[in-house]
């Protein structure tokens, strides 16, 4: 039964509201936002579930990094998205360790850097501390509790190709597009 509940109750309005929050988060990397318009099956957080409903549709292959039958069923009803392997995914969801190795995901082509995957990373904590972020959309610098820095630096170095990240924890999210420069501090 849980597969059929927990979706948007007013899809047109909630999609627009949620998308705006996500866009703000992507435009200002490292800022933390509340986004909890959908209730996916446990243990997935509401922010990650909402992001999936905002971005996934029947033309968006989604890769689930760890088996999650309840979530798969939920997505099938509420998003209608196909589930895929990492190599053909446009969206991927999982914990940082489950998403490894990252080189499985499409990073786009020089002519079409947009044909790359966006990774939704579920974290145990999401705070404005830790590695230092600079780059487009960030005034001076920001800090974000990233699981590591090397992978994000390597990703940035591929510009204009690369992956984009949406980091989620419970009802909150922050974004880390490929344009952001990540440094240890």
């Amino acid at each position: 039964m849980s597969a059929l509940t927990g979706g948007f109750t007013d899809p047109a309005i909630q999609s627009a509201q949620g998308f705006r929050i996500l866009m703000q988060a992507m435009a200002h990397p490292g800022t933390i936002h509340d986004l909890a318009l959908a209730a996916p099956p446990a243990p997935l957080g509401r922010a990650a579930g909402t992001v999936l409903l905002l971005l996934a549709d029947p033309t968006t292959p989604v890769h689930l990094a760890a088996p999650a039958p309840d979530l798969a069923e939920w997505l099938r009803f509420h998003a209608g998205c196909p589930l895929s392997d990492a190599e053909t995914a446009t969206l991927a969801l999982g914990r940082w360790s489950d998403l490894q190795p990252l080189d499985r995901f499409p990073v786009g082509l020089p002519d079409y850097p947009d044909r790359s995957a966006t990774l939704i990373v579920e974290l145990d904590r999401l705070e404005n501390d830790g590695p230092r972020l600079t780059g487009p959309g960030i005034k001076d610098h920001a800090r974000l509790s990233l699981p590591e820095t090397a992978a994000f630096r390597a990703n940035h170095a591929r510009a204009p190709m690369g992956l984009d990240f949406i980091l989620t924890c419970g009802d909150q999210l922050a974004c880390l597009p490929r344009s952001t420069i990540v440094e240890d501090c």
Partner: protein
């Protein structure tokens, strides 16, 4: 995909193809239900095939409205109908759920009525087409004589 598990497929298809007003006429009152997916209008990309039988290609979209509901007894119903009528999709979903309960015998004759209406419209068109059926003759040409 798996073989069609009619009769559910059958009644769902009938709901989609019935005129919204006609369906509302036949089933004016709906039992209490909860919306699992509020009626939502979107598009479905209609596919044809290259030279009728080859690779699929995208012909263009059509409007479709869908809805999912749950009756108080817990039975879930899905409605997918052509066009933009929210009431139609909702009614189709309720019928889908009811047809899975012991209400089915009461509804079956009503659905038969819808089927008869749809079939009559189709037959009428076929009869008009049949009246324009033509036999062409080739006339013998002078030089062949």
């Amino acid at each position: 995909m798996s073989a069609p598990p009619d009769p559910r497929r059958d009644w769902l298809s009938l709901m989609a193809r019935s005129a919204p007003e006609r369906l509302a006429e036949v089933l004016p009152d709906l039992p209490a239900h909860a919306l699992l997916r509020a009626p939502e209008t979107g598009t479905v990309m209609v596919q044809g095939r290259v030279s009728a039988t080859g690779a699929p290609f995208n012909l263009g979209e059509m409007t479709v409205t869908r809805c999912a509901i749950r009756l108080d007894c817990g039975t879930v119903g899905h409605g997918h109908v052509q066009g933009r009528s929210h009431a139609h999709a909702r009614r189709a979903a309720v019928v889908d759920a009811l047809m899975q309960t012991d209400e089915a015998p009461r509804l079956t004759p009503l659905l038969e009525g819808l089927r008869t209406t749809a079939q009559a419209a189709r037959d009428l068109r076929a009869a008009k087409a049949a009246a324009t059926r033509v036999e062409f003759f080739t006339l013998q040409r002078g030089e062949d004589a």
